[in-house]
Symmetry: C2
Subunit: 190 residues, 2 copies
């Protein structure tokens, strides 16, 4: 068991609707030393892939992506959520959020995603995969390559992981949750 | 001249309305090694102050604050922008954004700001000071202490810096802009 899995068992809270609350260390309060451990794990996995840039989505992916960028010594760019859709200098994609029951645009300025770049996508959560599919779309629009995807917590009982692996992406999740029990607050990993 | 000042001169763009665009390294694309240099500067300035937590605001403060938290080996918590205002488990404050001409709520869950904590506030920009005054309000609601404030870029010709120093806060800005010239894209530091 790695450190993120230990923290999930120790500090994660199962809420109704298959929600896992990990905001004491991952997405409201952040534990930088834990996040840096995770960044170094992805560095070991992807260090020979010629990564030129880290791509993530605001807000809670930024902390992890920054530490991954520091490990690789490459820039980070984060997709911005916006309701404006007529930005000619930006790549734009639509992402539907189940959590918020809302569709929003995610954009990255064209000058920060260049043709031929080798991209590592980083995010905190993977459930249905909508946010990451949106980021992949932005990278594809720029004719850059998604070399790998690093996710902190994958909900293994939802479709995102299966979908992304089925499409041939090298997806590395540090914790894959097999099942969560609301009443006993029990979490099982794959 | 420090590294952030050099990058501002090299890559900053002056836009109409006294806007300084630094999104190639600070708030859309991020340069982790530059940001880490800045974090280590604040660490040197505040390392003897007994800092127990870093507080920032989403989204663009998160990268800097994470690296500062790593340097201090303390947790980071970021204020979330939201339109919901009836969260009894959160401290809430109102912040007016001149850039977006919009008022929004910023909240931090009560369990992540404890009485008596020594807080270092970190943010990327200081202009009118509204965002930082909002964070100070959240810290005060928790009966914690604002021991210091670290800002990457202070617009010295706007009121925020003068206001915060006048209130007695130990504000450390790594670059204070004295004036910006739109036509020649010239930037002068204090």
């Amino acid at each position: 068991m790695n450190r993120i899995q230990e923290e999930i068992l120790k500090r994660g809270k199962v809420l109704p609707g298959n929600v896992l609350k990990v905001n004491s260390f991952l997405n409201h309060q952040l534990e930088p030393s834990l996040l840096n451990d995770m960044a170094l794990q992805w560095y070991e996995m992807f260090k020979n892939e010629g990564i030129t840039k880290i791509v993530t989505i605001e807000a809670s992916g930024i902390a992890l992506a920054t530490l991954v960028g520091l490990a690789f010594n490459v820039p980070v760019v984060f997709g911005k959520k916006t309701f404006v859709s007529n930005m000619s200098n930006s790549y734009i994609t639509k992402v539907y959020s189940y959590t918020k029951d809302q569709e929003f645009n995610v954009c990255i300025e064209k000058e920060f995603l260049k043709k031929g770049e080798n991209i590592l996508i980083i995010d905190d959560f993977l459930a249905n995969g909508n946010a990451i599919l949106g980021l992949i779309d932005l990278v594809n629009q720029a004719k850059a390559y998604v070399v790998g995807i690093g996710v902190a917590i994958e909900k293994g009982f939802q479709q995102g992981g299966k979908l992304l692996r089925g499409l041939g992406y090298n997806l590395q999740s540090l914790a894959i949750i097999d099942s969560m029990d609301l009443i006993e607050n029990k979490i099982k990993f794959k």
